[in-house]
Symmetry: C2
Subunit: 384 residues, 2 copies
Amino acid sequence: MTLPFRLAATEGAARAGLLETAHGPVHTPAFMPVGTQGTVKGMEAASVRATGAEMVLANAYHLMLRPGAERIAALGGLHRFMAWPGPILTDSGGFQVMSLGALRKISEEGVVFRSHIDGARIDLTPERAVRVQHLLDATVTMVLDECTEFPATLPAARRSMELSMRWAARSRAAYEPRRGYGLFGIVQGSTYPELRLQSAASLTALGFDGYAIGGLAVGEGQARMLATLDATLPALPLDRPRYLMGVGTPQDLVAAISRGIDLFDCVIPTRAGRTARAFTSAGIFNLRNARFAADPAPLDAACACPTCRRHARAYLHHLFKAGEMLGAMLLTRHNLHYYQALMRGLRAAIIAGNLTEHEAALRAAWACGDPGPHRKDDRGKERT
Amino acid sequence: MTLPFRLAATEGAARAGLLETAHGPVHTPAFMPVGTQGTVKGMEAASVRATGAEMVLANAYHLMLRPGAERIAALGGLHRFMAWPGPILTDSGGFQVMSLGALRKISEEGVVFRSHIDGARIDLTPERAVRVQHLLDATVTMVLDECTEFPATLPAARRSMELSMRWAARSRAAYEPRRGYGLFGIVQGSTYPELRLQSAASLTALGFDGYAIGGLAVGEGQARMLATLDATLPALPLDRPRYLMGVGTPQDLVAAISRGIDLFDCVIPTRAGRTARAFTSAGIFNLRNARFAADPAPLDAACACPTCRRHARAYLHHLFKAGEMLGAMLLTRHNLHYYQALMRGLRAAIIAGNLTEHEAALRAAWACGDPGPHRKDDRGKERT
């Protein structure tokens, strides 16, 4: 393995670890803000770093279509392009081909599709996906997988998983190991425990720097997602990082961390920041709500982010009502600060050995629901 | 006068001065970024300050409609609301009533119009305009004026100017002087020199802390704008600041400064930042142009702003092509940096006594037009 990972502490199945990458350390459990097109929407890279984020996610699919992987390589790689010197994990493109690509055709060889930008025909194979991520200079490369639709019948889920496993082997063969860089396999198998176990066994036999759980957070609901984690995680090596793709709400993160997940990415905090939804220590609320129109309090009195230090809820309310982009900027930053503080608190609790109490305190505070009504639709399609 | 203004140096008609406000100093000539609705679009207040800006403009019209002047007062005033501790000049609303208000009806008493937001009937009088700006805690209050349409016949321009002068007297009577705060009168009279002189005489007889030139940059063209300045400025007191409202391009600023203008505001640098137009030492260019797609150079090698220090033109091009809001954020910041650096350079040249040479060097560099085609439409309706 070329990507060192050390466990600093465990509590039950939960783990606090350290991933030592060529671009700097990642303390786990860690949440990666999503920078789909080479930017975390509405945030400068330096501001993302100031939230405490150590690693970001970018999408090979989007970047290979625009501006192009070769172009980014010629410009010195993605870190330099987006002025983010820290580690970057790139999604391989499998999920986006399914959700965005038109006229896609999947074969044993790979996938052919038309660009959602200009209709150009694109051939994506496991080898090309690895090559694209190499050109981007991704710190962590993801294998190309077929993201199984949900729901899927057992035979369909098996066929899809087995194709992904053959693609994983080809991705593994195409990948050039470098010190401080890594390649992650992706466990598939829908919500079928036997398929998840077969997938995990295939991947661990090949050997990867880390293991992702894919095909979740696609509408199956939290209970089935957690049951799938419970079935899958015992089959993965303890000494390698585990990454739950596209998840999730603060509640999801807490539940998955207690089961042994180390890495997460999700558009929820950034997307919510653009739609006036605030994540706070007292739960989720919508800043467009009239109750905030004259509210002089900071968004979250427990938060030390610049938005909470400088502005009243009434100002954020005004910005969203007036359609000012500063509203999205200030709230995105707060939400990312909230997520990072949440992860730091959970990591500290694992190290201190009081994760259970810490989780109970978090849930109690969320439930008090200070100013706004909780929303039921905070999960859903979370990977874009 | 309650608003101290000192001249530090002059060169010909050009002046370098210092306005000492209750919220901090303003070194003139100065350019005020426009924060119409209590935010400079796409910029945090701290970032606006970091460009070198010392004073910003906000719009009493917009803020009295939403969120309401009384609400901002209850929240501690506009400085606190928008986290801008420095001086703020507020436009009185006259221009916006003309350009945005529906069903407006002007009488001797004032103007009645319907809000462009919710259709509510609003009565705006000179006294109410002063009161609104007091509630906002504006550092500099502008009198209510009728912004004369362009073109206007001589009789229409005279009627309009004379109404504005009666309103100016009522604004003056309603204003409560406070140390470090000020009230500016607005010279009207379209492009008729005799009307401008009558207007200047009316205002100076009343006595104001500063004098604005209104009703320009409304389509008359640079030549007529400068001719109007040449006709008007000699009639204004030398010891008070002069403010050219809603102007302009870098070329406009240079021409107006050499004629003795001290203060400017304009949406051009911020609006251009949202539409991919960059102001640089080598002229104006559009970052959507394909020639920048692979360009590794900084936007302006002569610029020290964070955008130019961190990013290639190719990245900015990518952000605009991809519709990412970070493009507008980074370019708005650069454009404001450029404007502030331009003003600092002009001020230093006045103090050094080499303004003429400095202007010639600026114009020569703009004309070389490094990477992009110059645009002809950079002036126009500049006050919103």
